[in-house]
């Protein structure tokens, strides 16, 4: 279970770096945070996992999307 979560987290991180649509990148970062939250919980750090799920997967995603409205939606490189 834990190695699988690691693989999913790394794949999500790499894809988030590669996509040119920044909205998709923000969504992928939220997904990454959620997988990392599951990983924390699986390793026994439930409080940290809770934090990561609420802040990393929830609030950060919202703030990134709001920040996107201040700029362009596609990345240059």
């Amino acid at each position: 279970m834990i190695p699988l979560l690691f693989v999913v987290a790394i794949v999500a991180a790499i894809v988030a770096l590669q996509v040119t649509d920044l909205l998709a990148a923000a969504a992928l970062l939220s997904a990454f945070s959620f997988v990392v939250a599951l990983l924390y919980s699986a390793l026994g750090a439930v409080d940290v996992g809770f934090n990561e799920a609420v802040l990393g997967a929830g609030v950060t995603g919202v703030l990134l999307v709001v920040a996107l409205f201040h700029t362009r939606r596609s990345s240059v490189d």
């Binding site: 409080d47 809770f50 934090n51 609420v54 802040l55 609030v59 919202v62 703030l63 201040h70």
Partner: protein, 242 residues
């Protein structure tokens, strides 16, 4: 340039993996981290503060001063966002503050908000016994308000939480936290030593209650700060224009 970046990153990754091999194994009882003070905290949590969740005791009691500083860091981040985003020529983001007038999202949001907030209160007040505490609970309350801001629109979510209250609420949380710590001083204790709070309970129960007070302070500070950051981002700090 890109190849060079990849090369440097790969080299750094190798260094990290090599360093990771030297870490103690997961749950290793003879690792340095579990040999010294950790044992004391794990054994003492129930006896000292009547709190089964050791993490809560660690964060709010044994390391209460650290957490006070952390709460101030969160609030300072909110203040920095305010300085950067308010008063500049940055335009508001109308697309986010505008109400959607979509009956499905409206009703689902209105149904979800009380559930999220009730769960947030449970997380704050049950932090002694289950995962969670002030930080998570405060973030959950902020999330419910952010949901209303995005779906119901800026205007229609003001009655849930007015924009001007964000920063004052954060300040109130920190003042509450620091106030609980300061009350212990005139009654003979050190700063944040809850066992000297004048409530007429045995010391371990006083520390139990002190943890609850501190968690409430953290929750208020985190709620106010997160909402004020979001509002500054979406409105550029301008009030009452939309």
């Amino acid at each position: 340039m890109k190849a060079l970046t990849l090369l440097v990153l790969a080299a750094l990754g190798l260094v990290m993996l090599a360093a990771g091999a030297g870490l103690p194994l997961y749950g290793d009882a003879s690792s340095p981290a579990s040999l010294h003070v950790a044992d004391d905290y794990v054994r003492g949590s129930m006896k000292d503060a009547h709190t089964p969740n050791v993490v809560t005791t660690m964060i709010a009691d044994y390391r209460g001063f650290d957490t006070l500083g952390e709460t101030m860091v969160v609030f300072s981040a909110g203040l920095a966002c305010m300085l950067l985003l308010r008063g500049g020529e940055r335009r508001p983001v109308p697309a986010i503050g505008r109400p959607r007038n979509n009956i499905v999202t409206d009703i689902v949001t209105r149904a979800m908000i009380p559930v999220i907030q009730l769960f947030a209160l449970y997380v704050v007040f049950h932090g002694h016994y289950s995962p969670g505490g002030g930080f998570q609970g405060g973030a959950l309350i902020a999330t419910s308000i952010l949901l209303a801001r995005m779906v119901l629109g800026f205007e229609r979510s003001q009655y849930l939480f007015p924009q001007r209250l964000g920063t004052p609420l954060g300040l109130l949380g920190i003042a509450f936290y620091a106030g609980v710590g300061l009350v212990a001083l005139p009654f003979g204790g050190n700063l944040l030593d809850y066992s000297y709070l004048p409530l007429g309970l045995p010391p371990h129960m006083l520390r139990n209650w002190g943890i609850l007070f501190v968690e409430i302070g953290v929750a208020l500070a985190v709620t106010g700060t997160l909402i004020s950051i979001f509002d500054d981002l979406t409105t550029g700090g301008q009030t009452g224009e939309r």
